[in-house]
Symmetry: C2
Subunit: 388 residues, 2 copies
């Protein structure tokens, strides 16, 4: 089989940590990233892999309601909640012991951190196959820093040869019997102070441990700043921008600005609305016809909102000189706000007037709204007036 | 002396790297973070330390104009630009050789990465003093991952005892003669494949190398996601919010929402404008008097803008029912836009109307604008209408 196993694979995600290093009150796995707890992304990443049949997450009881809410919001079908132990290894062991109770005993168990949300199926697959063959396997990355051996007085003893060492990351996978034996045989010291499952599998389970290069994306959310990095990574999933009826004289400038920010541009017209992967629609109007714009928005949102793919719908009115008699601000604002409220929670809908000759400011505003992916900035009218 | 040396200290910042791991076209030290190249923050961090007298930055010639622009924009007085070599060690060596030409020969040389912008004077001071005493010193951090020794076939040989090893970070410092001798004696292999200056100082300079625990903030920008983390860190410098004339019935709800996001709240009234450290002003008006709001904004900005401390000025009009006859949208928009254009580049000025009974949506919008610290969202009128 090329890309899915013919044996049972389950996963254990220890999520009992208190995340003290983020400097925030909430443990990092429960911090909100783009309106969802971080752990929701990790659970979704595992839920999406069809050959992982059951996922045990070990948590402190305080967060059970939050987890149940995540499970129901995202319609997750494979998750089993188990109480965490007082240390990482004790939590993992609780998770492993629960296999066979909450689900059948698997042939291979994946262990992964709840705070590494960007794991993908190809690395999971490589690790699982290697574990089945060798007994245990784990993802590694090249060292970012030099590693120094410190003597007892705080002086450098020696620095390690970087070519012989690697950083141990997650995911890891184990034959069920090997990891079970390892935890049955290991000492209290291992349970309380150990960190490396691969070491236990090697020492107590007799496994030959295969190490496999993983991608950069396996990084672990550790500090508060990492939550911003996670948000940026998640926003980068939505890079498809559709320009609808973009006036020819500004099209190349608009396109270039988005492409410089690594967006993928699609140029289209009113009739044909762009690819199904489209995330951000920017719809240009050279004439301001309030009724028709609002009607178009409504039709558009009826068709596209709620697909969880479209994130931004911006109507841009260009090249017009409007006076107070042309725009009943509060009335139009009410319509835009109602449109915003009627669409899915995570779509930003706005109306922009650009009355300048150069698209420079408009582009800055479009980029800001598209990049922010923040519906709170939607339901508004933005105006760029020519200098007076 | 307790906190500054009575000997000459200079710094060398190698910045010749091409940053290929960020996945972006621009080397990471030149990527924009909140409208400035990353390296500008690092240079400012060194410029601010009064006892560091000269700062040599080694760069590729392509970026000389960008660097000159940073130096003039931020009025930096201590920077000397030197051409980078083909590897990190060769660049550092170019920088060290230039000491004595571009400035006097120092007693202690600091070496620091351009892509570690969050270095502070206390750790620099500890490292410099230790280097003067012992010959060389460097900042270390506990290991984030377990370190694994890999055998020739890609299997785990053994995992290291984390308690005996540390990650080598920056800054590092050296007695000038020791680092000079080290580079004079080291091999071409060291120059081309070595990474650790401390190792060279120990091996060729005969230094006893002191290792000193550094703070989390010494982390290095390596991947694209780290740029978002850097931006978040820089935004966190601006946490002082002043609520001016906040209506009593919403004050506690507004305060709580900001405090939950780790903002520091100051409550004041029109007359007394808050502490000199204030970053974000939110000024409430229960009556909409267009002339007086605009005049107040103008006076306010004349007094506060350009201090590089104030980042957001939001005028909030609450508890009002306005009709089309009360707001000449384009006219007021023109005034707000002009205010925005007249203030410093990095201040966001906006007018918000909240016509709802609950401050919930208003708070979300205020938090979004304050957190974004983005002047492109300024010069606008935001309105939250009651559901109709």
């Amino acid at each position: 089989m090329a890309d899915s196993p013919d044996y049972l694979v389950c996963a254990v995600l220890p999520a009992g940590g208190c995340g003290e290093r983020t400097g925030m009150k909430t443990p990092k796995q429960y911090c909100q990233v783009l309106s969802r707890p971080l752990v929701a992304y990790t659970l979704q990443a595992f839920e999406r892999v069809p050959w992982i049949k059951h996922i045990v997450i070990t948590i402190h009881n305080d967060y059970k309601d939050l987890l149940l809410d995540v499970i129901s919001t995202h319609n997750l079908k494979k998750i089993h909640i188990v109480g965490a132990g007082p240390t990482r290894h004790r939590s993992i062991w609780e998770g492993i012991k629960s296999l066979g109770k909450v689900c059948p005993v698997p042939e291979v168990v994946i262990i992964h951190d709840a705070v590494r949300p960007f794991v993908e199926s190809d690395i999971l697959w490589k690790i699982v196959e290697a574990a089945r063959e060798c007994g245990a396997a784990g993802a590694i990355r090249p060292l970012v820093s030099t590693i120094l051996a410190v003597d007892g007085d705080g002086f450098l003893d020696h620095s390690l040869d970087r070519s012989k060492y690697r950083a141990s990351e997650m995911p890891q996978a184990f034959q069920y019997n090997i990891i079970k034996t390892a935890y049955e045989k290991c000492t209290d010291y291992d349970f309380d102070y150990g960190t490396e499952c691969l070491h236990l599998a090697q020492r107590y389970g007799g496994a030959k441990v295969r190490l496999i290069d993983g991608p950069d994306s396996l990084w672990k959310v550790t500090l508060k700043k990492d939550l911003a990095a996670a948000e940026d990574t998640i926003k980068d999933w939505k890079k498809n921008v559709v320009l609808v009826n973009c006036p020819e004289k500004i099209q190349s400038e608009v396109s270039r600005a988005f492409e410089l920010q690594n967006f993928k541009l699609h140029i289209t017209t009113y009739g044909a609305m762009g690819p199904s992967s489209a995330n951000h629609y920017i719809i240009f109007h050279t004439i301001y016809n309030q009724q028709s714009i609002l009607q178009m928005s409504k039709d558009f949102l009826n068709n596209y909102a709620g697909t969880a793919v479209v994130t931004t719908v911006l109507h841009v009115v260009t090249t017009c000189q409007l006076g107070p008699e042309d725009l009943d601000y509060f009335k139009v604002q009410a319509c835009i706000q109602r449109l915003q409220e009627n669409v899915a929670d995570d779509v930003c809908v706005a109306l922009l007037f650009d009355m300048t000759d150069s698209p420079k400011k408009l582009i800055e505003l479009l980029l800001t709204l598209v990049r922010s992916q923040n519906p709170i900035l939607g339901g508004q009218i933005y105006t760029i007036l020519a200098d007076s």
